[in-house]
Structures are given as C-alpha cells and as structure tokens.
Point group: C2
C-alpha cells in the first residue's frame, strides 16, 4: 500500500512525498483519508515551534475523516470500511493516517467527509476547555476571541445550540457580520471598539475562551462576572500576561488552560466519549456542524495555509482527496 | 447592657470606647466576648484599605469566642449561655459582638475560649481555599507561604492531620524550626534559599496557598505539578503578577483565589457547615487545634498589633476578657 503525506522541510517549506505506510499497533486503526482538517498549530509546526509529540507522525495534520483501511488486533469499536473521523497527534495531511482507536469516532450520517475532518480538533478543544475546564453552566454566557476562526465558529455553534449567549471579537466589520450570522449573539470589532468595556456595559460574561494572551488577559478578567472562568488555549499576542490578584480574589475568578495534542491516549479516549455523548445528539439532528470556509484538494495545502495566514478565512479549511 | 469596643480613628490610631450594644436581628446572636482573634486584615482595616462590608460593625475584629447573651427570634441552633465561637464581619474586639447564626459554631470541649477565638478565620480560610477551591486530594502535597503565620500554622495543622505532606517558607531559621515542629514536612528560609528551585528538586507540589503575590506567583507556578492549583488569599508583596500562559496550558494549572469577609451570610453558613463536618471530628479528638503564639488582655490590642507587625509572632494572637 502506497502512502504520501505533507512533511515540513528545514526551511519551513512543505513537500508532498512518499513515506512508509504507518505501522498499525494493537490499538490503532489506519484511515484511508478522504479529508484532513487544517489548523493553526499546523502553521506553528511548520515554523518549528510546535513539534509532534514522541511517537507521532512527522507529517502535518491533526484531524481526518475517511474510511478504515486496517485495524490492530485489540481494536473492537471499528471494522474495515467504516466511515470515521479522528483526532490524531500528526500525519493527517496524508493518504493513510494512523489513529489510536480511542480518538476515533463514527462519522455521523449528517456530516460529509469534509465536515467530519473539520470536527474533531475544534469540537474536542471547545468541549474540554469551555464545558469541562470552564464549566459553562445552564444560563451562563460565553466569550470567544477570533469569532470567525475554526474554534470561534465551533464554540458559537455548540454554545448557541445548547442555549447559551455567545459574545466575541473579530477584526473586520464583515467578519463581525458573518460571526453574528453563525450563532454569535453579539460580536465586537477589536480594531475599532473597546470590547472589554462594551461587554462590561452589557453585563459581563461567565467564561472567556482566550487564544490571544498578552494584554488581552487582564481585559478578559475585567469583563468576567463573579465566579468567572478564564481558559487559555493559545497565546497569539504574547505568552506572558499581567494579572490582578485582587480582582481574582474579589470576584473569585479562575484562570486555567490546556493543550490537546500532548494528552495521553487514555485521556483523549475519555474526552472523545464525552464529546460523543454530549455533542453527537446535536450533530445527529443536524443542529450542530462545523462551518467550512475553504475546501481544497490535498495538493493545495500551501494555498490553505496562505488562506489561514491571510486572516480572510471564516470557519475551517479542509483538504480533500 | 454596656458595650465597649476597639474602633479605628482618622489617624490610624485605635481607641477603646463605648458604643451601642449591637441590635440583634431575627437571625443574629449576641456573644459575650471572652476572647477575640487578631488577624492581618485588622491591620489593613486600621490603614483604611480593608473597610468593613455594609451593615457590619465598624469596630475591629473578625472572630470571637464567648457565651451567647441574646438570640434573635429566628435563631434555632443556639440558646443563651451556650459556649460558642464565630466568624464575624467586624466588631470582634468588643464586650458584646453580634454574629449571624449561620457563622456561629458550638465551642468544642477540647478548645479553650482563646483557642476558639483563634479558630474560625484561619480554619474557614484554609478549608475553603485549600480544600474547596484548591481541591487538595488524598496523597497530594500542599505548599504554604508564611509557615508560622496564623494561616500557615492552621494549614499545616489541618493538612498534616489529614495525612498530607506540607511544605512552606519562613523568614528566619528559628521560624523554620518552629514551623517544622508544628506539622510542616519541610520549610525553607526564603531569605537564604531558593524555595521554588528546591521544591522542584523535591518533586513539586499540587496546591500552593499564596498570600504574597507579586513575583512569588510565577515562582509558585514553576513548582506546581501537572494539574496543580494556585490559590491567592492575599498579596503582601504586590497585587499584580506576571504569569506564563504556556506553563498554565502545558501543565493544565489553575489559578484562583477568594476573600472571606465579603461573602454573603448564606455562603458563610454553607462553609461553616463544611468546616464543622470536615474538621470538628479532628478537633474533638484533640488532633487539631490552633496554635496560640500570644495571648493578651483586651486592653492591649495595640501591643498585639505591634507583635503582628514585628513578624516575630508564631501562630495566632488573641485578646481576652
């Protein structure tokens, strides 16, 4: 069986080249990739600042959808030919991708391969950070920066489907409009408006999902209500943040955060189970699906990265075969 | 009935003067004070930076022990003459002190009035921050700055009685020795040792209880294990702290904090119930009691404050009548 995949070169270029078909361990499945999701960490991996964890494929790509082409001896949940989607620690931009069975989900009938490839990374990230770490509870409000990003659009889709008000920021008026059409209650243009002040005037929020870091952190804390939670999932503007301890104490705030990729397989399997039981009911009735902003053939990975860098993308980019 | 109490003057002086006996509302008890606990926030209140919450007595004092001298019409848990200890939002340095019945506890047979007056503030603070907010779990390690403070000695007493290893800092070698005799597993002299490096070399901790703030916060975060929790209860060295978002994400840390005084009565009543059910079993068998470092007559409040400011005090100071 042949395998080709997108690998990162020394000069941050990427190349589609042949590689051994991944070895299938007892708990692994091999997926014949029909679509691969594109994520911001893929750009970081190109830049050399987000290496794959030990044992993972060196090829790019953190999520795929396709059909099972081989299974390991201990695999019980899946059989060959089944339509699936999976979170993977690497190797998604490929013809064949290996996944731990604990990170694989059946592809719901309501999702295409493209939509399936756009689901795992953002759904797992939003679920574990917003609902598990952030504890977003009935009647509470969510705030998400990057409203039109893959994370932002998924957060709004999930939270609005579950009845929450969702607020956020975007960098242009047209993105503000697009985000509000995709489920946000209200979005502010961070280039022209003081979103923190505005949100405070609007009554504040209970959970802030932040991927900006830097001076956004104190501004996020300022708009949190009593008992509010701040969850960091990236730090695009700076990895150091100044926090006011008195505000944390007075409002009894919580700051936390996490990464997804480096978690052990058992933890990903637990999270996958939580996503299936919590979100599949919404997916199966067509109330929740990822928003695809760009779909390109697998050969155009470079173009997909350009689109993500440009900031013009709304929702997710996927590569298809 | 006569009442005298210690009040703060305009020039940060304090004066023992007559005041009306507190009015007893339906849910209040009046306590004939036999001993009042002295706390660091009392010094802040003198300096004008920690005012009593609305409705609380303007007199100093956050905890008392004594006997019930009057009860409101809705009070069911207590009767006149009963020995009690109580957390109060103010008015403890007095002859008569009003308390919401939800914040009052029977004084266990194993505690004197002095010990009872030294119990509520530190026990409530340690319980809610270390075990509730910090979630210190079986087999986990605690770190507490100010090992010989009222909070430090209570934290060590509770956590060591419950089987946890407890680490901390103190400012002199004799205080290090005293703290290790009072239940700490190991204490570092912060003037001569890099406690954060040392603790990391020692395997790290799961929960850090911090009252220092400022540059202690990043050093605390550095010694937290994966999944560790940082709980702020004061900020003696600075209310702004620099935190590393990548470390929070990578180790999945949580930062939180709280104040006790401004919580609503219903929340204090809930916490009082948690303290009674969790800590009274240890108190009643003599395994847990506050460490009294200084006991003075009520007339010597100024001297008690001097002792607290001097940094020489080990454990709690109380004022008795």
């Amino acid at each position: 069986m042949q395998n080709n995949a997108w690998f990162v070169g020394d000069d941050q270029s990427i190349a589609w080249r042949e590689a051994p078909v991944p070895e299938v361990g007892a708990d692994d499945v091999l997926i014949d990739v029909r679509a691969a999701g594109v994520n911001r960490p893929d750009l970081l991996q190109r830049m050399g600042v987000y290496p794959p964890p030990p044992g993972a494929s060196e090829a790019l790509g953190l999520e795929v959808a396709g059909t099972i082409s081989a299974i390991g001896s201990a695999v019980t949940r899946f059989s060959i030919g089944e339509r699936v989607m999976a979170l993977v620690p690497g190797g998604g931009y490929a013809e064949q991708c290996r996944a731990d069975q604990g990170s694989v989900m059946p592809l719901p009938q309501t999702l295409s391969f493209e939509e399936g490839a756009a689901f795992p990374e953002t759904a797992f990230t939003v679920w574990t950070n917003t609902f598990e770490a952030g504890g977003l509870a009935h009647g509470e409000r969510l705030f998400v920066h990057g409203a039109t990003s893959g994370i932002g659009t998924m957060a709004a889709a999930i939270a609005s489907a579950m009845g929450h008000e969702v607020f956020g920021t975007a960098g242009t008026d047209s993105k503000v409009k697009a985000a509000e059409e995709l489920g946000f209650t209200k979005v502010w243009n961070y280039k022209t408006e003081d979103w923190s002040e505005a949100m405070q005037g609007h009554g504040g929020v209970d959970v802030a999902l932040d991927m900006v870091g830097g001076d956004y952190v104190p501004r996020n804390l300022a708009m949190l209500r009593d008992g509010g939670r701040h969850v960091s999932i990236a730090f695009q503007a700076g990895l150091e943040a100044q926090v006011n301890i008195m505000a944390i104490m007075r409002k009894r705030l919580t700051l936390t955060g996490s990464t997804l990729r480096a978690r052990p397989n058992a933890e990903k399997a637990r999270l996958r189970g939580a996503v299936e039981s919590s979100l599949f009911p919404l997916v199966s009735i067509g109330k929740l699906k990822p928003h695809i902003g760009l779909s390109l053939p697998m050969s155009e990975a470079e173009k997909a990265h350009d689109a993500m860098r440009s900031g013009a993308l709304i929702g997710k980019a996927v590569l298809t075969r």
